[in-house]
Every structure is written in C-alpha cells, then in structure tokens.
C-alpha cells in the first residue's frame, strides 16, 4: 500500500467520524437557539442525558437485552438454513430449479407486511419476533450465497477436480471459500434487515424491546425516550456492521485490495 493510499484512507476515516459529530453539533445549536422546535427535536445533549437516566434505572438495558436476544436468535434461525439452501442452489441445478421461482416470487413482498400473518401463526410471544427477524435475514443471505457459488470461476472447479478433491473437499476448499465474500455481503444486508424488522415487530404486541420502547414513548408523547430508542438502534446497527466488517477481514483475508 502506497503512502498516498494510506493517507486517503486515513482522511476517509476522519471524515466518516466527523460528519455525524458535525451534524449533532448543528442540531444542538439549532435546538438551543430555538431554530427548531425542541418538542419535536430535543437537543442531543438532552437526549444523551435522558439516555443515561434510562440506563441507570435499568429500563433501557431490559429493552436492549430483549431486542438483542430476538435479533440474535432470529439471525441464527434465518442465516443457517439460508447458507445451506443457498449453497445447494448454487451447486445443484435441480435445487435451483425448485427454489428459484419460490424465492423470486416471495422476495419482493415487504417483510413488514407479513407481520399480521406471523402474529397469526406464532402468536404474540417471542417466536413471532424471532420469525420476523429470521425472514428478514433469510432472503439476502440465500440470494447472495447462491450468487456467490455461481460466480466462482469454472477454472477453480477444474483445479479442484484435477488435483483430486473429493466431493466434500470440493465443497470445503472451493465452493464455500469462493462464495464467502458474497455470503458475508448477504449476512450484513440480512442483519440490517433483521434490525429493521425487530423494531417494527416489537411495536405490536410486545411488552419490552426497543421497538416497544419507541412505540410506547409515542403513545405517552415522551419524545426524548423515543429519540433514545432511535439512537440506541442506530448504535446497535453501527456496532453490528463494524463487527461484521471485522469478521469479514478475519475470515476473508484475500478480499483486501
């Protein structure tokens, strides 16, 4: 990596840290000088103060914990079958023929519109929330995994065969690592979709979770709590993405450059 590249990478990072800070600073100034209505847009300093209050009372952690649990469970339930089915679709034509139309027909349905049906099937408990996340995670992962297998250059399959790879090793040393970069892309998209859906699902028929917290705050016109909920969701999304990026760098070291 040249010095110039290093420098531009560094300044990119500086900009991406600074831009939200600048925005928050502007917001703070506007709120304090009365340019914006603090009933709808309370100053960030007030929101953060309120965040600490909610955190120290323990209420925030209860909601965060509930949402994270559902997110994690739904992620596993959606992701594992998506990778298995995606690899099978990519590798075997009959599987592709069977699943492709199903997936392309159901993919465009907005996942949030499935909530009533999911509530009908799974009831108001945890399983309906987990199912919503799982559905959100499933589609991007299955589609990207299948595409990941199919974009593997045929020469790598030839190399595997020529050097005596068994069927299992063909899968382990060629198909899976070859598809891994796109699988990771699917996982990141899926996790983001899961976060969107958990917030929506928790607004209906939940007694805790960040979605419930936001919805409840709206009903009570507790705008600051609403912002705390939004803020925490944003942070979870950010941390999740950074975590998956780090994971990707660790397990896809050949993708650099």
């Amino acid at each position: 990596m040249s010095a110039g590249q290093t420098r531009s990478l560094w300044s990119d990072r500086t900009i991406s840290v600074l831009s939200p800070l600048v925005l928050l600073g502007l917001w703070e100034i506007c709120a304090r000088t009365g340019i914006v209505d603090v009933r709808f847009f309370p100053a960030p300093s007030n929101i953060i103060g309120h965040l600490f209050e909610l955190a120290s009372s323990g209420a925030l952690w209860r909601h965060v914990g509930a949402s994270l649990y559902r997110l994690a469970a739904g992620f596993v339930v959606g992701c594992v079958p998506a990778i298995v089915i995606g690899l099978a679709i990519g590798l075997y034509r009959p599987v592709r023929a069977a699943f492709d139309p199903l997936i392309s027909a159901t993919y465009p349905i907005p996942k949030s519109s499935l909530l009533p049906l999911i509530l009908l099937i799974f009831g108001l408990g945890e399983s309906s929330k987990i199912a919503m996340v799982a559905i959100g995670v499933f589609y991007p992962v299955v589609i990207n995994t299948a595409a990941g297998v199919r974009q593997i250059a045929p020469i790598f399959l030839d190399v595997g065969r020529n050097f005596g790879a068994s069927r299992f090793n063909m899968f382990r040393t060629v198909a899976l690592p070859g598809a891994l970069p796109l699988i990771m892309t699917g996982i990141k998209l899926g996790a983001g979709m899961g976060l969107v859906l958990i917030a929506i699902a928790e607004m209906v028929g939940a007694k805790q979770g960040l979605g419930y917290m936001i919805w409840n705050a709206w009903e009570l016109f507790d705008v600051q709590t609403m912002y705390v909920g939004l803020f925490v969701i944003a942070i979870i999304g950010f941390v999740m993405n950074a975590g998956f990026d780090a994971l990707e760098r660790a397990i896809v070291p050949w993708r650099k450059g």
Partner: protein, 276 residues
C-alpha cells in the same frame, strides 16, 4: 489402463518401448462441431511434447481430455501408470488458476493435501518446489499480492509438488511479458531436468515450442488434425538465451513456422463471416 502397443510407424512413435501416452482415433465434437478429428499419437516416456496450432484448433480440448476433465466423443486415451499411488496427471492452467482464498503455500500444497500425504512430507516437497521456483519467501502471501509471473511460478510448483505421472501445461506463460517468459522457460527447464517427467505442453508460440520441446506437433486449423510432428534434436540441458542464438534453433523455428503458417492462413481465410 496400460495397453500394449506394437505399432511401429505411428506419427509420434519411433521408440521401441511402450508409450507413456497413447491416443487412438481420438475425436471430439462440441455439439455437432468437430473439434478434433481422429488423433492417433504415441508419446514416449520422459518426453517434453509440445503442441502448437492456430487458435481454435482444439489444443486445449486435447489437453483437457488428457487431464480427464473432458471425455473424447470417440477413440481412446491410455496413459501408462508407472508410479502406483501417484496422481496420473497435474495441470498447469492457462490464466489465473490459484485459489485466491489460499496462501501461496496452501496453493502449492493443494494436491498433496487432497491426497492426505503426511504433513512432514508435504512440508518437504512443497518447500523444495517453492524454493526451486523462487517463491518460498512469498509462501504466506495471497495470490492477489503477486505479479502474474509469480502466480504462474506457484502454479508450476503446485503441479510439480503433486508428483504426477505426467504434467499437462496449457499455455501457462501466454499472459506474461517477454522477460518473464524467458526467465520462466529457464526455471521450468531446470526443474524439468531434475524429474524428466513426461510433459504435454500447449502453446501458440513457435519460439517457446522449440526452446522447451523434444518433439513438436503442429496441428491443422479446426477441426484439429495432426499436421506433422517435428523432432527437436537440440542438446540438453538448454540455456534459453544461448540456445536462441544457434543456427539449429533458427532453422527449426523457421521450419515449424512455415508449417504453422499454412494453418494460420487457412484459419484466417475462414474468418470473415463464413461459419463452417
């Protein structure tokens, strides 16, 4: 797999002992298009056998059939197995064939790993060939961190390390610049002298063919047939740059180019619009 052949006047023959590779009326069709037409050929053991021909003459098809990656439509291919427990062939592919997700070391060790060779033996063999190709220092790097020439060195190390009965090379240097090509010719010859494995090497470069080969088979424009097989009686071990200054080398290049020229012209005359 061995078939005793007693043929005396076959195009590639001339040797009394049983051939290492023997093809009988090997024909390949892609759909209805005839790619290779009744190739009958014997390649003696320890021969560096080079195939030249115009683009689209079926050279690569021929090699893929020798590798077992494609099956002939008709005819048979026999490869005598002299080392039990060793793979029959290893291929050096045209273009980038190193797994981007493996380090240089893991790529070079791939064949041995797939065959579950003991680790100590893998370390020894892979270390040897990475040293020979000058890639030992780069063993922890990934292919995207290497130049094209370095990648082909690893690809060659991978094939030799696998210790196959025969080596198949499909225009392995065609994407490289002249300087790199010359260096790799020297390295390939040096490594080959150690083992003297039977090689089938495909190229479109007459220079490369004469530099490396013991015999050069010129193929006709598609459908591919054997036009002629020319023995190369240049002494070994060869020094690439010095060799290219000798009159014998120049004569051979001229002869083969003259043969090839007819076929290239024929292939070209078919090009404008007219499809078979």
């Amino acid at each position: 797999m061995t078939v005793p052949t007693t043929t005396a006047e076959l195009p590639g023959g001339g040797q009394a002992s049983a051939p290492k590779i023997s093809l009988r009326d090997v024909t390949k069709r892609h759909d209805t298009q005839l790619a290779l037409d009744r190739i009958t050929l014997d390649i003696p053991v320890s021969t560096f056998f080079v195939v030249v021909g115009p683009s689209g003459c079926g050279k690569t098809t021929l090699l893929r059939m020798l590798a077992g990656l494609d099956a002939p439509s008709e005819g048979r291919i026999d490869i005598a197995n002299s080392q039990p427990g060793h793979p029959q062939n290893s291929m050096v592919f045209q273009g980038d064939s190193l797994f981007p997700w493996m380090t240089v070391w893991d790529n070079a060790a791939y064949g041995l790993t797939m065959r579950k060779v003991p680790k100590a033996r893998i370390d020894e063999v892979v270390g040897h060939y990475l040293n020979k190709t000058g890639m030992y220092g780069a063993r922890t790097l990934y292919p995207h961190q290497l130049s094209g020439g370095m990648r082909q060195r690893v690809s060659i190390a991978r094939a030799f390390a696998n210790d196959p009965d025969i080596l198949l090379m499909d225009e392995p240097f065609s994407a490289l610049d002249e300087q790199n090509k010359t260096l790799l010719h020297e390295e390939l010859l040096r490594i080959w002298e150690e083992t003297r494995k039977t090689v089938v090497f495909i190229t479109h470069s007459v220079d490369e063919a004469v530099t490396l080969g013991d015999r050069i088979m010129v193929m006709t424009a598609g459908p591919g047939r054997i036009k002629t097989i020319v023995p190369v009686n240049l002494p070994r071990p060869r020094k690439v740059v010095e060799l290219r200054h000798t009159p014998a080398y120049g004569e051979l290049v001229y002869d083969i180019w003259a043969q090839l020229r007819e076929e290239v012209d024929r292939a070209r005359s078919r090009e404008p619009g007219s499809k078979a």
